[in-house]
């Protein structure tokens, strides 16, 4: 019986290998060079010939707005965390989470950050539902403010892509968003412990 099972498994493996081989051989025959249906050069040329526009005032406005929003959001969350005086806030050093953060095209974040953010964000809605309505509204408002800041900084970076200050600010804002989402977990742990008692 075991022999028969082993033979079947070997047959399956052999068949899988043959299928894999055919698949890769076929893939290597797919066209790699494909001509676009239309000439894309005019769009490229227009972009590279256009003088870079420096819109200093909107960029500065975005920076200032983002700083204000960040301070506001942080203060709000700190207040929420401390008001019940249940236990000290544990904050994970951002550097531990953001080793892989990198700015790519469009100023999106690297896969390490996306994974961290994705895992926190996936439970956020459930965590928020556990909060009292007032606290939940406050957290949601803070997150909305931070996301507005992210959008504003991104818009400013579109105009001034090499602005290191804006890039740094964007990174900090993304960090702040993740911290807020993580702190929500802390808040709901408090809610659960109070309910348990």
């Amino acid at each position: 019986m075991n022999d028969e099972r082993n033979n079947n498994a070997q047959d399956d493996d052999g068949q899988n290998e043959a299928t894999d081989r055919r698949l890769i051989e076929a893939a290597r025959r797919l066209e790699t060079d494909i001509a676009p249906d239309r000439d894309l050069w005019p769009g490229v040329e227009a972009a590279i010939r256009a003088p870079r526009q420096k819109r200093r005032y909107p960029a500065m406005f975005a920076q200032a707005a983002a700083v204000v929003l960040l301070v506001g959001a942080s203060s709000g969350l700190t207040y929420l965390m401390m008001k019940d005086d249940t236990r000290p806030v544990t904050v994970v050093a951002p550097e531990l989470l953001f080793d892989q953060v990198a700015f790519g095209d469009g100023y999106s974040l690297g896969p390490g950050f996306r994974d961290a953010r994705g895992s926190v964000a996936s439970n956020l809605e459930q965590e928020l539902e556990r909060l009292p309505a007032k606290d939940r509204a406050e957290v949601e408002q803070n997150l909305a403010l931070i996301r507005t800041a992210i959008a504003e900084i991104n818009a400013a970076l579109e105009e001034d892509p090499d602005n290191a200050l804006l890039q740094e600010l964007l990174l900090k804002t993304y960090r702040e968003e993740l911290n807020v989402m993580r702190q929500v977990r802390g808040l709901t742990r408090d809610v659960m412990s109070r309910n348990d008692i």
Partner: protein, 200 residues
């Protein structure tokens, strides 16, 4: 006769080697000119490489309009970053890296639901397979239906021949993840194409 053939063959090799060197010299010279903001030189580089870049973008996105946007973005970024090109890798490979970044950036920007719905709707009638002959169209269609991560790895590894390490570097994932995604892609493709896989 053998000697004649041998001599001809040798001449042919020398001519080909010379042609390849000339081509490389030409490319290097064009790159240097483009690095000095010569858009005419950059246009020649664009014309020489656009099919390869567009092909990659089309295979990775499975969508004509997104592939066009990514191709343009890739060349715009290449122009901006040209000063950083030191010739450590082939120019075409360097462009491919930028194109992959453009595709990944584009996908991140398209996170909003309506964008995804639009992209999926367009995907159904995107003539990606038009570039492929006969029996390869089934594979090309099946490739377009793969999940993003698996499709990206399969395209870079199986279609364009990059190693897992290279594909991982381009996509910002570990080479082990690249292998896992390739395994997933193969399994899904085999399911779509039937037990026997593609006809070869």
């Amino acid at each position: 006769m053998a000697a004649v053939l041998s001599a001809e063959s040798s001449d042919y090799s020398q001519v080909m080697a010379s042609a390849t060197r000339t081509q490389a010299d030409d490319e290097a010279s064009l790159i240097r000119r483009a690095q000095r903001s010569d858009t005419a030189a950059f246009e020649i580089l664009y014309r020489a490489n656009v099919d390869r870049v567009y092909g990659l973008c089309l295979r990775m996105t499975g969508n004509v309009s997104e592939a066009e946007d990514c191709t343009q973005e890739a060349f715009i970024q290449a122009w901006k970053q040209l000063a950083k090109f030191r010739g450590d890798a082939a120019f075409g490979t360097w462009l491919h890296r930028i194109a992959v970044n453009a595709v990944l950036g584009r996908m991140r920007q398209s996170r909003r639901e309506h964008d995804r719905i639009r992209a999926v709707a367009e995907l159904n009638d995107a003539p990606v397979t038009a570039a492929d002959s006969g029996d390869l169209r089934d594979l090309s269609d099946a490739l377009n239906r793969l999940p993003e991560g698996a499709r990206h790895v399969f395209v870079l590894y199986a279609v364009y021949g990059y190693s897992h390490e290279e594909a991982g570097n381009m996509l910002g994932i570990a080479s082990g993840t690249s292998k896992a995604q390739l395994h997933r892609a193969r399994r899904l493709l085999a399911q779509q194409l039937g037990q026997d896989g593609p006809r070869t």
